[in-house]
């Protein structure tokens, strides 16, 4: 009896979502008045809340870009922190609209969901204490390694050490915090995860300068937001929000000069900002969708710099995340 009441009441309170696999996510989001974004549980640079509960990060800014494009207000987002183990189920069930949680694009995951774009090209690396005087991952024979369970990290680790005929001891923990804590207490010599996460976790250590990140990258980890199967329009929207930010950077449009750019005569910029053509409306947004995104959130360079680049505490260089014109592999299709 009481359980039925609980279920019904909770359903009433939460609002039942009619059918998770419908092609109506945009309509649902607009009706709701806000976007529900699945993010990480506190990874500096990608998605972490500050003391007052405001979220910042690369993935967070993507969500804010989507909200800006739809509502012209980047703050109409609700963030749902998810652990590595439980990140896919809420997306499947419709609890969240998009999962922006530095998730690696793999075939087995693509079979279940749609990866929209890669907003950060990453790879797996190792972090050790400087005192161990290790300069390369190939010197790690016999080491104890802490990693997080439920991720591709464990498997990549096994492959690398097997391929190089090295022994190792692996200790797997359920959350990133436990893993870092164990590494810091000395339970293991090495911490392994995506390099961007290593930079972020390094900030959480007591003496960040005592640790060094080894140069080897042992895997491909293209990180990007995911959406459900079966909703092509929503898939296009999320994908093109990222491409809009890349195109804006390519054309030199920033949140600072957006007003001058609106007066530009260059046909590419005019198409980008919606002065010519109705490209935004073709995917279900407004004509000035890119203006909204860039004005409220910025282009990709600003977003990168502010969250993980030289303007942030992490200080990661653009590397292969530069635009294709600058030698990197971030490449956006044209808006036309």
């Amino acid at each position: 009896m009481k359980r039925a009441t609980l279920t019904l009441g909770l359903a009433f309170g939460l609002g039942l979502v009619a059918d998770a696999a419908s092609a109506q996510t945009l309509k649902t989001v607009k009706d709701r008045g806000s976007l529900i974004c699945g993010v990480g549980q506190g990874l500096p640079g990608f998605s972490s809340p500050d003391d007052k509960g405001a979220w910042t990060g690369l993935d967070v800014d993507l969500c804010r870009g989507i909200a800006a494009a739809i509502f012209n207000d980047p703050n109409k987002v609700k963030y749902t922190p998810l652990s590595a183990k439980d990140r896919f189920e809420p997306l499947k069930s419709g609890e969240i609209d998009v999962l922006a949680r530095n998730t690696t694009w793999t075939l087995s995951r693509d079979a279940l969901f749609n990866f929209t774009a890669v907003n950060y090209y990453d790879g797996q690396g190792f972090m050790v204490r400087k005192a161990l005087k290790v300069n390369s991952a190939l010197e790690l024979n016999g080491a104890s390694i802490c990693t997080q369970t439920g991720t591709t990290t464990e498997l990549n680790l096994g492959d690398y050490f097997r391929a190089n005929n090295m022994r190792y001891e692996v200790i797997a923990f359920a959350t990133a915090d436990e893993t870092v804590k164990a590494y810091e207490s000395g339970r293991c010599d090495v911490l392994t995860t995506d390099v961007s996460q290593l930079y972020a976790e390094k900030l959480k250590l007591t003496n960040a300068n005592d640790h060094v990140i080894l140069p080897e990258i042992i895997s491909k980890e293209p990180l990007g937001p995911l959406v459900r199967h079966g909703d092509d329009q929503w898939f296009d929207i999320v994908k093109w929000v990222h491409f809009a930010m890349l195109n804006a950077e390519e054309l030199g449009v920033t949140s600072k000069n957006i007003d001058e750019a609106l007066k530009s005569n260059l046909p590419e910029i005019r198409r980008l900002l919606g002065i010519e053509g109705n490209f935004g409306e073709q995917i279900g947004l407004t004509k000035d969708w890119v203006v909204r995104i860039v004005r409220h959130v910025g282009n990709y360079a600003e977003v990168f710099d502010r969250n993980v680049g030289t303007g942030s505490r992490l200080g990661i260089s653009r590397g292969i995340n530069r635009l294709w014109t600058k030698g990197g592999i971030q490449y956006a299709p044209p808006i036309r």
Binding site: K85, K92, G142, A143, S144, T149, G158, A174
Partner: protein, 445 residues
């Protein structure tokens, strides 16, 4: 009542009288207890089957939508990840089925050792709680109250995070244990005491002769030397088996002799001597075929030797101390259930407290102790699954943790895990019930 003169029909109490000639009253179908009971049971069955059917249909639909795959074929897929404690040979190319075996063995290991140690500690504390020494009794009581009122997960995390990881040094600063460090400290102590230097030198020389410490304690675990079985070691093992059989036979013979003539025989000491002495003698005669491989610190960790990971130690300590508190209460209840007359009679016979407990009280108390003790053993086995919180690779952490994350086949994995725990519980209950039957063979006047 004369059954022969009437047709055989089920006795109907409402109508049977002394003459027994009245016809049975007509009872409405819905008032007939048999019909009602059958009806209710059918209703229950129908509801149950309908629910089960609905669940199965929903599950099928949901699984198809998810596309994760189903069936038990995943047990043959390659695992791809490493495990840091394996009692059997395991590598990343082994299948999920082998992962299951490794996890199961780890669970049985911690449960088995935990049960033995918890019983010993529990009995000690339970008896200490009944000690006439006020301080000892209160200390034991305080221990029981403190441990029973703190959650087990809390205690596991405490032992792991605060004690093992917090207090122990890294592998390069390992604490050496064993004979050598003791002798070295003795040497230091003699110097400090001001005794002649020759004595200190003698201790030091002995310490150096023994070589490096045998055991190392660090936050990577406890490193023990590993026995290496060379040629001829089968004889040592055979000698050990022989000694055990001989002790059992000796016990039977001693009991028979005591029942016949009343003369006791120190089976305990003799058995101990046999079990230790016979294999040792074989060892010496054959020229030490079993050698010890000493662990050596090379690079990051120790190479060689047997490593007991700190997760195992923390889990074991927490489980043992927690369950021992409950066993202590069970033992205390059992001992207090014995009538006072028994202990008074024992004292009148001149038995000291130790002998009284060993020969009179505890054998009788076992009848009361064994059923709740079984319960505690089952609890310990089930609680061993909490090792997942500190990364101990037992069945739950490996199978329902890592494998579940990688294959997403929740129903099969959780069903297998639950079935295995049920099986372990059943087997433990069965064995304890056999033992219980033995204690009930106690013959009273």
């Amino acid at each position: 009542m004369d059954q022969g003169r009437h047709p055989v029909r089920p006795a109907d109490p409402v109508s049977e009288t002394a003459t027994g000639l009245r016809a049975p009253p007509r009872v409405a179908l819905y008032n007939n207890p048999k019909v009602r009971s059958a009806f209710y049971q059918i209703v229950v069955l129908v509801v149950l089957v309908a629910c089960a059917y609905a669940f199965v249909v929903n599950a099928r639909a949901n699984l198809a939508a998810q596309g994760f795959g189903s069936g038990f074929g995943f047990l043959g897929n390659t695992a791809g990840f490493g495990i840091n404690q394996t009692l059997i040979a395991y590598s990343e190319t082994d299948s999920y089925g082998r992962v299951f075996l490794v996890g199961l063995l780890n669970t049985l290991l911690v449960a088995g050792i935990g049960i033995v140690l918890a019983t010993i500690l529990g009995f000690i504390i339970g008896i200490a709680r009944l000690s006439p020494n006020w301080l000892v009794a209160r200390l034991a009581g305080g221990y029981v109250e403190l441990i029973r009122n703190l959650p087990l997960l809390f205690q596991i995390l405490f032992w792991y995070l605060a004690v093992l990881l917090g207090a122990l040094p890294g592998p390069r600063d390992s604490i050496g244990l064993g004979l050598q460090p003791i002798l070295a400290r003795l040497a230091g102590a003699t110097r400090w005491l001001g005794l002649p230097d020759a004595v200190a030198q003698w201790w030091q020389g002995l310490a150096d002769w023994i070589g490096p410490p045998e055991l190392y304690l660090s936050n990577r675990g406890l490193i023990l030397p590993r026995p290496v079985f060379g040629e001829g070691s089968e004889f040592v093992v055979a000698a050990l088996a022989l000694a055990i059989l001989a002790t059992i036979a000796l016990r039977l013979w001693a009991r028979r002799r005591r029942d016949a003539t009343g003369r006791p025989f120190p089976v305990g000491w003799a058995g101990f001597g046999l079990i230790v002495g016979l294999p040792l003698a074989t060892l010496v005669v054959l020229g030490a075929p079993i050698s010890l491989e000493q662990p050596v610190l090379r690079g990051f960790n120790f190479v060689g030797g047997v490593r007991v990971i700190p997760e195992f130690v923390a889990l074991l300590i927490a489980l043992v101390t927690y369950t021992a508190a409950f066993i202590a209460e069970v033992v205390r209840a059992g001992i207090m259930a014995i009538p006072r007359g028994q202990s008074e009679a024992a004292q009148a016979l001149g038995l000291q407290r130790g002998a009284m407990l060993r020969l009179i009280i505890v054998p009788q108390a076992l009848r009361v102790i064994v059923p709740p003790l079984t319960n505690q053993y089952l609890n310990l086995t089930k609680n061993s699954s909490l090792g997942v919180a500190i990364g101990y690779p037992d069945l739950f952490a490996l199978f329902a943790g890592t494998v579940l994350n990688q294959t997403h086949q929740a129903i099969e994995i959780i069903a297998i895990t639950m079935a295995v725990y049920l099986l372990i519980s059943l087997v433990t209950s069965l064995l304890m019930n056999l033992y219980n039957a033995r204690t009930r063979r106690l013959v009273e006047r």
